[in-house]
């Protein structure tokens, strides 16, 4: 495949101003990824600062509830800051330091990536500004306080739909203006090359660990791996080390919000067409004129009209099966895991969990499913009111 592309997907569709910065980032990344000092420093931060390896937990109660395949949860919710996002921000902050950048910017939707970025910026003493849609700031007040507590400045974005898509536009505009001293920490496997590849590499530790852990526990690879897909970083992270193992079925679950037919959803791969947004060519929710359609999901972390280009590629070669779960299905899974296992999952991860209902009972008891539990649900407690309302409307 040509540089920066996953077959026809990917590329660098950005203003010329950013090209030197992307070249520099690519060069530094390629140099560092195999550098023993860099590898060791990242490894020790992931271990001692974030608490890796995260466990692979056999969900016995959930397994017996569905009465089919054995269900394991990859506990990314146990990471420092409560989600897989820190795997990437730790990697990128080390690169920013190496490049001598003084300032970090990031976009955030639900605030998880913003918190993970503000956290590492605090740890490495770099100036940090986080772009967040004005609407999301209101919806995710807790994470805004956290970012401010960590010393970051949260900049409200009032353009467009005032959500993640527009926060990303604004972060790119900032980067275009301040490219010489600023590094942009993109939070998912999206954006111009080298981001999709680099963020995937920082997240693949999820899948690498999972592979060792399941072999140790079961002596073999799983039959299925489930992960939710917004931009797609937790899914790429757990899928990637298994892509060549054809016997492992990979299923990505997008958010179909109020249902794909309602038009209010974020199921980019299921209902989108190929387009260009935020610097790469991939599936995109767009209208007949090529205008980007705002996404919708109860989960702010999946509320994104684009998707990482490597997911588009994996879809095109039929290596990953992309399905979708509605708000209601995710909420039911959210409650079920809390009640059965005493684990409150993020609403994002709940989309992946909800697919168990369709899959687990159909499988034999000796089959194995791993679900990537990408984050914990504390942040979603604010959504509880919304969830109750949704139930009352049933």
């Amino acid at each position: 495949m040509s540089r920066g592309y996953f077959k026809e997907f990917g590329g660098r569709f950005v203003p010329e101003t950013l090209m030197p910065a992307l070249d520099e980032l690519e060069e530094v990344y390629l140099e560092m990824k195999d550098d023993p000092d860099f590898v060791n420093e990242l490894k020790s931060l992931l271990a001692d600062y974030s608490g890796r390896p995260t466990s692979l937990y056999y969900a016995e109660q959930l397994t017996s509830y569905y009465g089919g395949a054995k269900i394991y949860l990859k506990r990314e919710d146990l990471n420092h800051t409560g989600a897989h996002k820190i795997n990437n921000t730790l990697g990128q902050i080390l690169l920013a330091r190496k490049m001598g950048k003084k300032r970090i910017i990031a976009e955030t939707g639900a605030g998880q990536h913003g918190v993970a970025t503000a956290t590492v910026a605090a740890r490495f003493n770099l100036e940090c500004e986080i772009y967040m849609g004005a609407e999301d700031i209101e919806r995710q007040a807790l994470n805004v306080y956290k970012m401010e507590m960590l010393g970051a400045e949260v900049i409200p974005v009032t353009s467009g739909t005032q959500t993640l898509k527009d926060a990303t536009n604004e972060a790119i505009r900032d980067w275009v203006t301040n490219v010489e001293d600023t590094h942009y920490i993109i939070g998912s496997v999206v954006g111009p090359h080298p981001y999709p590849e680099m963020v995937r590499d920082f997240q693949r530790i999820i899948g690498d660990e999972c592979r060792e852990q399941i072999k140790e526990k079961e002596g073999r690879l799983p039959d299925y791996i489930l992960a939710c897909v917004g931009g797609g970083s937790n899914a790429m992270g757990i899928f990637y080390p298994f892509v060549d193992d054809q016997e492992v079925n990979l299923i990505g679950i997008e958010a179909s919000g109020k249902g794909i037919d309602s038009g209010q959803h974020a199921a980019t791969l299921s209902a989108g067409r190929v387009g260009v947004l935020h610097g790469s060519k991939s599936y995109l929710l767009q209208d007949d004129d090529g205008q980007v359609i705002p996404a919708y999901s109860i989960s702010a972390g999946l509320d994104y009209p684009g998707v990482g280009p490597e997911h588009s590629y994996l879809k095109s070669i039929n290596r990953v099966d992309y399905q979708a779960a509605t708000d209601m299905e995710a909420v039911a899974a959210f409650k079920l895991l809390s009640e059965k296992e005493g684990i409150i999952p993020a609403l994002e991860s709940s989309h992946a969990l909800s697919y168990l209902e369709k899959l687990a009972p159909e499988l034999a008891e000796d089959q194995i499913i791993v679900v990537n539990l990408s984050g914990r649900g504390d942040k979603d407690i604010n959504n509880f009111k919304k969830i109750r309302e949704a139930e009352n409307n049933e």
Binding site: V14, P15, T17
Partner: protein, 261 residues
């Protein structure tokens, strides 16, 4: 010689940018006639897009007004096609790659040539992307105007200038359109000299942050022409009624032309 570079002969042309369909295609038509009558040498029309990431707030808002008014790329091209005999100055479309990709690259190149459009600027399509578009545009006789920025390396300058026709769009500073916080551009003379070494005969148009006659006077010695968008749109928007908006546009163009000469 193509219609665009011909405008650079014997003068420093003024390229004016307005967003197509802001707030309606009828208004765009009237503005085109007015800008042309007042001495604009080339008119650039923005293709409205939901996510214009190279643009500052003024053009973002203009783009939003156009979208709310129902403008699409198809309608914009149809309007230009309809008025092409009344327009003497070259017209250039400026838009984001997704609009073109969605329209169909080959069809886009063909349709805009039919509509009498002379050039295209796509700020998020760098010279490295192997889009088929360049080939289709060349075949249709439409110029592809590429952008360079103050941080573009020598190596990239060669690649970009080789691909650009009509003129080369020199972005005046690191930033988005309409951003004039940086005042007089540092190192402008050196920057454009460096670009000229690679560009050869290709004329250099300077744009981004040129906000009025005073700025024009300070920079006009260095480029071969200038591009003004956000400042013009601000003047138009300051008008209350249509007549006032058109008059503001006319007055602004006259003041810039005077500053150039």
């Amino acid at each position: 010689m193509n219609k665009i570079s011909a405008q650079f002969k014997g003068k420093k042309p003024l390229v004016t940018y307005i967003s197509g369909g802001d707030p309606s295609l009828e208004m765009t038509e009237k503005l085109i006639y007015r800008l042309q009558a007042e001495g604009a040498d080339i008119i650039e029309l923005g293709i409205p897009f939901s996510d214009p990431l190279a643009d500052g707030p003024v053009i973002q808002e203009a783009s939003q007004r156009a979208l709310r008014g129902g403008t699409t790329l198809k309608k914009l091209i149809a309007k230009i096609d309809q008025i092409q005999n009344q327009v003497e100055v070259p017209l250039i479309l400026m838009g984001y790659y997704n609009s073109v990709l969605n329209y169909g690259e080959e069809e886009f190149a063909y349709d805009i040539a039919e509509a009498g459009i002379s050039g295209v600027i796509i700020p998020d399509l760098p010279a490295d992307e192997k889009a088929e578009l360049s080939r289709y545009l060349a075949r249709s006789g439409v110029s592809q105007i590429m952008l360079v920025t103050p941080n573009t390396s020598e190596q990239r300058l060669k690649k970009i200038t080789a691909k650009s026709s009509g003129f080369l769009y020199c972005v005046a500073h690191l930033g988005t359109t309409g951003d004039d916080q940086q005042g007089v551009y540092p190192e402008l003379e050196n920057y454009l000299e460096r670009v000229r070494n690679s560009a050869g005969e290709l004329p250099l148009g300077l744009g981004f942050g040129i906000d009025g006659p005073e700025k024009v006077k300070k920079i006009i010695d260095y480029p071969d022409g200038i591009i003004i968008g956000s400042a013009l749109i601000k003047q138009i928007q300051a008008g209350d009624k249509e007549k006032e908006m058109l008059d503001n546009a006319g007055e602004f163009v006259r003041s810039i032309k005077k500053a150039i000469n």
